[in-house]
Subunit: 243 residues, 2 copies
C-alpha cells in the first residue's frame, strides 16, 4: 500500500470544473444556500430519495411519473408548476418520511449534472448540515477529492467557499493539497469560523442579501450550522440516497 | 452628475472573465508573477513600448519585423527562439531604455488578448510594482472596474488574488463592490498584508513552489513589493505604453 496521500482540489465555480481530474475522484457537490443543505435535511428526516433535476419542466414530468413531491425555486419563489421550495424547513420528518423528492435548483443540481457529463463516477453532496458525515467518508475512502462549489451562475460565492474551507480545515492532514483555491478557501473559513452567519452578514455576501430580502435569515443561519442532518447523500442512477 | 459609485468586480480566473461586463469597464490585467510586474518595470525603466503577444511564434515574427527585443518563458526557461525571460531584473534602464519589448507569457498576455476578444475598450496592467499608479487612475477615471486575474492555466492563484485584494483595500470607498470574489480577495489580502512573501511561502502557493524551484525567490520578493515601477501601462493598438 502506498503511503502517498490522495490529492484534494477545490473548484470555486462550475466554470472551473473542467480543469480538474474528475473521473477518479469523489466529487463533493456544494450548494450551501440551500440545495445541498435541503438534500441532507430531507434524507436525514427520512425521505426515501431525492432526485435532482435540471429544469422545472423535468421536475414536473418526473414528479407526475413517480407521484413524487416536486420542489424548486426561481428568483426566490416556488417555481410555477412545482409544489414546494428550497428551504430545509419545508421538509420535516412528519412531511417527507418515505417520500420521494424531485428537486431543481439554480446552481446545485445543474453542477451535479455537469459533473456527470464530465465523467464523474462518484458524487456526494455536502453542506454544513452534514459536514462530519462528508469528512468521515472522504477520510475513510482514501480517494482523490474534488470539492465542487455550485457558486451563483458561475460567480464564486462566499458560502460555498466557506464550506470547502471548513472541510479542508477538518481533513487537511489526510490529503495532499497543492491547490491555491483550496488554500484561499481554507483561510477564508478560518477568518470566518468564529461566527459564519455574522461573517456572511458583515461581508454583505451577495446570497445573504438575496435571501434576507425574502426574510430568510433563519434559513441562512440553519444552513451554516454543523451537523443538523448527519447523513451522507450519495448519488447513484439518478437518485440521491443515504449512504 | 450622479452620486452613484461605479461598480468593481473581480474575475479570479480567465475562465470567469465572460461573466462580467467588460465593454464599459477599465479592465486591469493582473499577472503578478511575473508578466505585469515585468511590463511595469520595463516601462518604468524607459522602454518605448511593450508588445504583448500570444505565442512564441508571434513573438519571433514581430520581434524580427520591428527589430525588437523578444522575451518569454515556457516551463521556467527562455522559450526557444526568444532572447530573454520574464524576470523584471532582466530589464534595467541601461538595457531597455528606448527599446521595444515583445513579450509572450503563459497567462498574462493570453488574458489580455482574451479581454480584447471579449470587447474590452480600455485595458491597463497592474502589479504591486505599480499599484499606486493603478489605484490613482481607477479612482480618477470614475468608471466601472474589472480586476482580471491571469491565474495559472485558468486555476485561481494566490498572488493575483492578493493583488486584486490589495487594490480593493486601497480604493474600496470609491466603488460599489457587490461581488463575493472581490470580498474574498480583499480578506485574503488583509490576512497576508503583514508580509506577502512570508504568506506565499507559508501557504506554499503553487507559483511560489514553481519559481523557487528555479531559485527565483528574489523575483517573488521583488514582484510583491509596492511601487518599484511607478508607471501606468495602458494598452492601445497592440502596444502597452506609459499613461
Amino acid at each position: 500500500m502506498s503511503n502517498k496521500k490522495p490529492v484534494l482540489y477545490t473548484s470555486l465555480s462550475p466554470a472551473l470544473l473542467k480543469l480538474y481530474e474528475i473521473k477518479q475522484s469523489i466529487v463533493v457537490i456544494i450548494d450551501v444556500l440551500r440545495a445541498t443543505s435541503t438534500i441532507a435535511t430531507a434524507l436525514s428526516n427520512g425521505a426515501k430519495e431525492v432526485i435532482p433535476v435540471d429544469s422545472v419542466d423535468e421536475c414536473i414530468r418526473i414528479g407526475k411519473q413517480m407521484r413524487a413531491i416536486t420542489a424548486g425555486e426561481r428568483d426566490g419563489k416556488v417555481a410555477e408548476g412545482l409544489q414546494y421550495g428550497n428551504s430545509p424547513f419545508e421538509y420535516p420528518a412528519s412531511f417527507i418520511e418515505n417520500k420521494t423528492l424531485v428537486l431543481t435548483t439554480t446552481n446545485g443540481t445543474k453542477l451535479l449534472h455537469m459533473a456527470l457529463t464530465n465523467g464523474a463516477n462518484e458524487i456526494i453532496t455536502g453542506s454544513f448540515a452534514n459536514i462530519d458525515a462528508v469528512c468521515e467518508y472522504l477520510i475513510k475512502s482514501g480517494k482523490p477529492v474534488l470539492l465542487a462549489c455550485a457558486a451563483w451562475k458561475d460567480r464564486v460565492n462566499i458560502e460555498d467557499t466557506l464550506f470547502a474551507g471548513a472541510v479542508i480545515n477538518k481533513i487537511e492532514s489526510y490529503f495532499e493539497i497543492d491547490c491555491d483555491a483550496s488554500k484561499i478557501a481554507h483561510r477564508t473559513y478560518q477568518d470566518a469560523s468564529a461566527d459564519l452567519y455574522e461573517y456572511m452578514k458583515k461581508q454583505n455576501a451577495t446570497h445573504f442579501q438575496r435571501l434576507s430580502k425574502f426574510g430568510l435569515e433563519k434559513d441562512i443561519k440553519h444552513c451554516l450550522t454543523n451537523n443538523t442532518a448527519p447523513v451522507l447523500p450519495i448519488y447513484k442512477e439518478g437518485k440521491l440516497t443515504k449512504g
